[in-house]
């Protein structure tokens, strides 16, 4: 198969203080006009933002670039996109390239969403007829039907992101470059975007993703490169690379903490259990890997029937089961309730109280938890399940979303008290 992206020993330098060294720009431009090649010789205040980067991708491949801010990820995407000229090496792209380096590049806040779709599509190379052909799909995907003729300056950042992403994915690119643009927008839309990207991948689109959402990286990409200060530290299967990178981050974090608050208790975790901190509104992080458990099943039951919605004060039963993929010594499970919209933490039911499942070391774990009076006020909630051994998480993720409905009484605040009222 013919490769569609070839990156060979690419390097790019920048000046730390471009405003002071304006003459560099003139010399670079004059050099280009006179036919001189660029080079990696560093002038005063210059540094290599990317050095000696190489990889090859084939149709349908998905590749992630990970690393800390300023490690050269976006610079690499910009070189792949042709907006930056490399200072060494060679980049070949064979196919229609679409870069999502910034959502809504070219959006004018004073113009309406519809007018901006035409502008953005033009920026991406479409003419009027081609834009008309996709505009309904774009509006539909962006879920902005009611606001599409309002000025973009009245949109939230999430709405702008939805509009920009919709324009980009509706263009049917062959090579898609995505730069951490899905950190905006609501959770549902993020999922929708990832579903669309998965679909594009299946259709043979080559995807290069820059992201700090490492679970997404593992889900989305087979291969990854970890960049550090412009240098490629490691390239390989994304899971391995992400694990190596997160271990590195943990080490860095521990070093920082040790420096700031010594002496610190050393926290030892199993090698395969380093934190994968994807910050969410539901607690510290999400660890949704199935490395340690599988066949997880969770049900909410009211009067023996599985439900996703029930009334306040109903007796709620939570049933869960999962297989342990490894022997454990100190197993515990927390069921944590959060308000869906803002992640307000309502409470936790833990097996730590009473060491309920401490005796289980291997095999399948099945439990039933009964809450006789579920007294959270009407609204949308999520149930997060945290399975851990000792202090190390085996799993931590949202397992259910559910709605509590009213029972005819007015409610205020966060909880409804079941009570008996007597006039004396």
């Amino acid at each position: 198969m013919k490769p569609v992206v070839v990156v060979e020993n690419v390097a790019k330098k920048f000046s730390r203080n471009a405003n002071v060294h304006l003459s560099y720009g003139i010399w670079d431009l004059v050099g280009e006009i006179l036919g001189r090649s660029k080079n990696t010789r560093l002038r005063q205040d210059e540094f290599l933002a990317v050095k000696d980067l190489s990889f090859t991708l084939y149709p349908g491949d998905s590749f992630a670039l990970i690393g800390r801010n300023g490690c050269g990820k976006t610079t690499t995407l910009k070189m792949l996109n042709g907006t930056l000229k490399p200072d060494a090496g060679k980049i070949i792209t064979d196919g229609r390239v679409q870069a999502l380096i910034a959502l809504g590049a070219g959006f004018d806040p004073k113009l309406s969403g519809r007018e901006n779709i035409y502008n953005a599509a033009a920026v991406l190379g479409l003419n009027n007829r081609e834009t008309r052909a996709i505009i309904d799909e774009v509006i539909d995907f962006a879920e902005l039907d009611d606001f599409i003729d309002s000025p973009v300056q009245t949109y939230s950042s999430g709405m702008k992101a939805r509009l920009g992403f919709s324009v980009a994915v509706c263009l049917k690119p062959e090579i898609l470059l995505i730069d951490e643009i899905l950190s905006v927008g609501d959770y549902a839309f993020q999922n929708k975007c990832f579903a669309r990207m998965q679909q594009l991948k299946k259709e043979g689109v080559t995807i290069i993703l820059v992201s700090h959402a490492h679970t997404r990286v593992v889900q989305m990409c087979e291969q990854a490169a970890w960049l550090h200060h412009g240098k490629t530290v490691k390239t390989g299967p994304s899971k391995e690379i992400v694990e190596a990178y997160l271990t590195f981050l943990d080490e860095q974090e521990v070093k920082k903490m040790q420096k700031a608050n010594s002496p610190l208790e050393e926290k030892k975790r199993p090698a395969s259990q380093e934190k994968r901190p994807t910050s969410t509104i539901y607690g510290a992080f999400i660890y949704d890997s199935l490395d340690h458990i599988d066949a997880l099943e969770v049900s909410l039951l009211v009067q023996g029937r599985k439900v996703d919605a029930f009334k306040i004060h109903d007796e709620l039963v939570v049933e869960y089961s999962f297989n342990l993929k490894q022997a454990v010594k100190n197993l515990n499970v927390n069921l944590v309730f959060y308000r869906k919209d803002d992640g307000l933490h309502y409470g936790k039911i833990s097996t730590l109280n009473g060491d309920v499942i401490k005796h289980i070391h291997t095999g399948r774990v099945s439990c039933r938890v009964t809450i006789p009076d579920f007294n959270l006020n009407p609204g949308s909630y999520v149930l997060l399940m945290a399975i851990f051994e000792g202090h190390s998480f085996l799993y931590r993720n949202v397992v259910k979303e559910f709605v509590v409905k009213g029972n005819g009484n007015l409610t205020w605040g966060l909880m409804g008290f079941k009570c008996r009222y007597e006039v004396m």
């Binding site: 670079d28 280009e32 006009i33 910009k78 070949i92 007018e115 920026v123």
Partner: protein, 281 residues
């Protein structure tokens, strides 16, 4: 959908393959047409989004300026010299053509900075930016041309044939501005001083050019005007529109040809400069 691309990006200067550069320049002109149109529409809408009179302001300015000179001439404060058309027509034509030249010179100067978000994130044909500038100057010119036509008709100084000829040659005054504007644009992106010098120089250059005076009041200005491309183009277009005669055909042709060469060189440099300067904008 998106154009199929096979792209090779290296550290080598593109100048080493001149044929590819010229091909890319021409294809950029074709591919960038619609984008240029959208950028132009966006600019116009943004410019006039919070203005009641909108575009009127653009030509009220030179008319007010010209009116002052008319009053000065009537009061014999200044001497316009010998001219064959009403001074009002002479000065208004001169001012409006000068405004077109000045706009065509200054708009390209800042085009890279204005398009910074685009240039640093999306690969677009550089020609789209130049075309958008051209459309904008052309759009603003239509109102000026309307004023020139109405004034000449009102003052009985209109040569229909000459006016049509001058309309056909009108792009030469845009060329006069854009040739230098496009050439200096990449350098102005790095050193903004260039744009400031150009803008400051425009006012004295106006008084040195045959905009307000038919005969230059000083001998030095006669020599200066002989090599002033904007002045040569402007005075020829004006005499053509009002009297159906070229003031100096050879000067006009040679100047236009030279401007075309300068513009070509500027376009070439502009095209090459985008990927080199996009991180320095």
């Amino acid at each position: 959908m998106l154009a199929r691309n096979f792209e090779v990006y290296t550290a080598e200067s593109k100048v080493r393959d001149l044929k590819s550069v010229f091909k890319a320049m021409l294809s950029g002109l074709v591919r960038g047409r619609y984008l240029a149109y959208r950028l132009f529409i966006k600019d116009v809408k943004a410019d006039y989004s919070r203005s009641v009179l909108g575009i009127l302001w653009d030509f009220l300015d030179p008319i007010v300026f010209a009116a002052i000179f008319i009053l000065l001439q009537r009061g014999r404060v200044i001497n316009s010299g010998e001219i064959h058309i009403p001074y009002v027509v002479f000065v208004v034509y001169g001012m409006l053509l000068w405004q077109t030249f000045s706009e065509a010179l200054t708009l390209p100067l800042g085009v890279m900075q204005r398009s910074k978000t685009l240039l640093t994130q999306v690969k677009i044909p550089p020609e789209a930016l130049l075309l958008a500038v051209f459309f904008k100057v052309l759009f603003n010119s239509t109102f000026r041309i309307a004023v020139m036509f109405a004034l000449a008709l009102f003052m009985d100084a209109l040569s229909w044939v000459g006016f049509i000829k001058s309309l056909l040659l009108y792009p030469t005054i845009i060329l006069a501005g854009m040739a230098f504007g496009v050439l200096l644009a990449p350098f102005n992106t790095i050193y903004n001083d260039i744009g400031k010098v150009v803008r400051i120089s425009l006012r004295p250059l106006l008084y040195c050019s045959p905009v307000l005076y038919a005969v230059p009041p000083a001998r030095l200005l006669v020599y200066l005007n002989a090599v002033n491309p904007a002045g040569i183009i402007l005075s020829n277009l004006r005499s053509l529109a009002t009297q159906n005669l070229f003031q100096n055909v050879p000067a006009f042709v040679i100047t236009s040809a030279l401007l075309l060469i300068i513009f070509g060189g500027g376009w070439f440099i502009f095209h090459l400069s985008i990927p080199v300067l996009s991180d320095k904008i």
